[in-house]
Amino acid sequence: MAEASLLDRSRTVAGPGYNRWLIPPAALAIHLAIGQAYAFSVFKKPLGALISGDPAAPAAADWTPTQLGIIFSIAIVLLGLSAAIFGKWLERVGPRKAMMASALCFSGGFFIAALGVHLHNLWIVYFGYGVVGGIGLGIGYISPVSTLIKWFPDRRGVATGMAIMGFGGGAMIASPLSVALMDHFKTSGTGTLGVAATFLTLGVIYLLFMQFGVWTIRVPADDWAPAGYVPNPQHSALITSSNVSADNALKTPQFWLLWVVLLTNVTAGIGVLETASPLIQESFSDAVMGAGRGVTAAAAAGFVGLLSLFNLLGRFFWSSASDKMGRKTTYAIYFGLGILLYALIPTLGRNTQLALYVGVACVIISMYGGGFATIPAYLSDLFGKYQVGAIHGRLLTAWSTAGVLGPLIVNFLHESRKAEGFTGAAAYQTVFYAMAGLLVVGLLANFAVTAVNEKYNEKGPVKAEPGGH
């Protein structure tokens, strides 16, 4: 029981003089770990050759790429669902208990998946990495957000940008780490091409790494504020000093407008990310650029890496900039500039302007990342700090929807153009025009965001986490 009480919210209230700059590293420890999800593709080839033992020549009984793709899809869907379901619980019990639950689920998912790999039972892998790990992803993703906003009411964008940047950076650590571990265990003769042993090792590493976040996180006292803090210095009608509960937020048009904002921004970004490697190879192939001058598979992998870097940098840059520019203006830039750049991409492809093409794609992806990182601060501006973590969790269902919608739209439009006989950059033309069209919808939704009607506000003062012990 003593162990449980250490996780209670009451045990995490910071004493006087606690340095708030310890909170972002605590949040990063969680997001850097769960960001591993975006590196799951490094396991696809070895997982698809567990029977044959040769990734280049899978056996008939080996798992297919489609079967393996479902693992990641389950995890992302569970991320959105669990963030929506457990958001209010998180606000009640505080960030430490939620982070611990996330760590146990996320690492537990690896342990269960390792058993599934060892037994060559795909359902166990689905359940482990997909369901249990996916719940860890969802709880972990939202666990530090409201705490960061409470510690940094004067720099909400900077604070959430730092944490959510970690989710982008997690894959950059996990990808080379996983490859190195698989190489090590493969040569050690542990079987399953080193995958099961790698899953076990990653489970232990992430469990320990996330403990840093669990035990470092603190919530501020209810009456705490940064020295010299002045609420809403911009006197913006879109920054409230009131509070709206998670249940009431769902009744406001603002919540659903932001849902559309997130959905369109993420769907468009996924359109580029999903196709990045084949897109650049087909658009700038030897046939287009001349023999020996086309983009190779290795160079395309470099392009994907560059996009990952800009995804990471955009999360911090744009979210921090939104503290100065205001959230609505920042999203207007994502959409306005995005529409121009998405519409420009096919022209750059037709004219074989590779450097400009890469530059434009990087800016687009920086705004995709920025969209993720700026949304918690936007929610906090509109609905207050009271249950912003829970509201954010519910909004993340837009991400899950985009995760399904984005690849569907892209693949359908691309295949349709190819069926019409178009090749190279021309085969992707309608994809980019459709994404630009989606951003128009997002721009309009963002334009329609106004201050929340006062009838939805909580009456009287609210405790930061109602029901906390």
């Binding site: 006087p16 003089g17 606690y18 340095n19 700059w21 310890l22 590293p25 605590a26 990063l28 420890a29 850097l32 970690g166 950076g169 997690g170 894959a171 950059m172 650590i173 996990a174 990808s175 080379p176 840093f212 470092t216 006292a221 009456d223 705490w224 504020a225 940064p226 020295a227 010299g228 803090y229 002045v230 609420p231 809403n232 000093s241 983009v295 290795a298 160079a299 395309a300 992998a301 470099g302 392009f303 890496g305 560059l306 990952s308 870097l309 990471l312 890469v358």
Partner: protein
């Protein structure tokens, strides 16, 4: 209606700067390693 500024902040505990540095190093070092690995891979695009 804006609430008046509330400021119950007290000076940060002496020595907490060291803890902040260590905390950032704990998460920053793996992040920088990952970023450098990605950057090296990205260089292939310009070869």
């Amino acid at each position: 209606m804006n609430q008046p500024p509330v400021s119950s902040a007290t000076p940060e505990t002496p020595g907490s700067g060291g803890a902040v540095f260590l905390a950032w190093a704990f998460v920053g070092i793996p992040l920088l390693w990952g970023v450098s690995q990605t950057f090296i891979k990205a260089l292939d695009l310009f070869k």
